[in-house]
């Protein structure tokens, strides 16, 4: 796949940075001329992935979250959110709707939303070493 353009961000796992992360990726994606629905889906998927890193990867400490967005072949937006936190013991279980270890403020729908709003979702995790979430969303070229 041809890599056209990319964005890299690194920030501490503070919840105030959730809005910054989704706004940054949305601004980057706007060069692909997405529809409002596509842009909303991208913002939502980024928000979920970054929130997971903040809430679950570093529950008792402030760690670093790395975010990369890149355009592949001119019409795929790939978003990667990486942490070096505590990792996920059982990824298949974590992907189940309504599964959460995050208490009353979390719905357990994060991965379900990421899956619904992107075309491809890949989760790589190792307990004690961190998690990398990679999502791809096709932004169809508009005629003309």
């Amino acid at each position: 796949m041809k890599r056209d353009n990319y964005l890299k961000l690194e920030f501490p796992s503070r919840s105030a940075n959730e809005a910054l992360a989704r706004a940054s990726v949305a601004a980057f994606a706007s060069q692909m001329d997405p529809t409002l629905d596509e842009l909303g889906d991208i913002r939502t998927a980024v928000s979920e992935a970054v929130t997971n890193a903040i809430v679950h990867a570093y529950p008792d400490t402030v760690g670093v979250v790395w975010l990369r967005a890149r355009i592949l072949d001119g019409e795929y937006l790939e978003i990667t959110v990486k942490d070096k936190g505590r990792g996920i013991e059982d990824v298949d279980r974590a992907r189940q709707p309504l599964y959460t270890t995050g208490g009353e403020d979390r719905s357990g729908m994060g991965f379900t939303i990421m899956e619904s709003f992107t075309d491809r979702l890949r989760i790589r995790s190792a307990p004690g070493r961190g998690t990398t979430v990679t999502m791809q969303r096709r932004i169809r070229r508009k005629p003309g």
Binding site: R22, R43, S47, T51, D105, G108, M109, I113
Partner: protein, 109 residues
């Protein structure tokens, strides 16, 4: 994220303005709990007409409100839901549990 409210004849309407994410939800939930304790409403409506963004944190808040109201024998529903929050609620299947009314613009989209 801002929270406004109105109360009329046993019905508390809560208006959420801005963006509802994990950063905002705890403060919003505390305010909502305070309003429920203050008014002890029979029914509660969550009006999302001025909510520009919501992720699954909003689902947690909505399910929490639903449980609170239904446990007390009251009714709870969500109104004026815009296009983006509606897509999140649809993806989560929340319409099977809570009554949701889309905003006019979201219905047309």
């Amino acid at each position: 994220m801002k929270v406004f409210s109105s109360y009329d004849n046993g019905r508390l309407t809560i208006y959420l303005h801005g963006e509802l994410d994990h950063h905002a939800v705890r403060g919003a939930a505390e305010l909502v709990e305070r309003l429920l304790g203050e008014y002890l409403p029979r029914d509660c409506v969550l009006d999302l007409g001025r909510l520009s963004f919501m992720d699954s944190s909003g689902i947690a808040l909505i399910l929490r409100l639903h449980r609170r109201l239904v446990a007390g024998g009251g009714r709870f529903w969500v109104e004026n839901v815009g296009a983006q929050p509606l897509r999140v609620l649809d993806a989560g299947g929340i319409g099977r549990v809570v009554q949701i009314a889309a905003a006019k613009e979201a219905k047309q989209a």
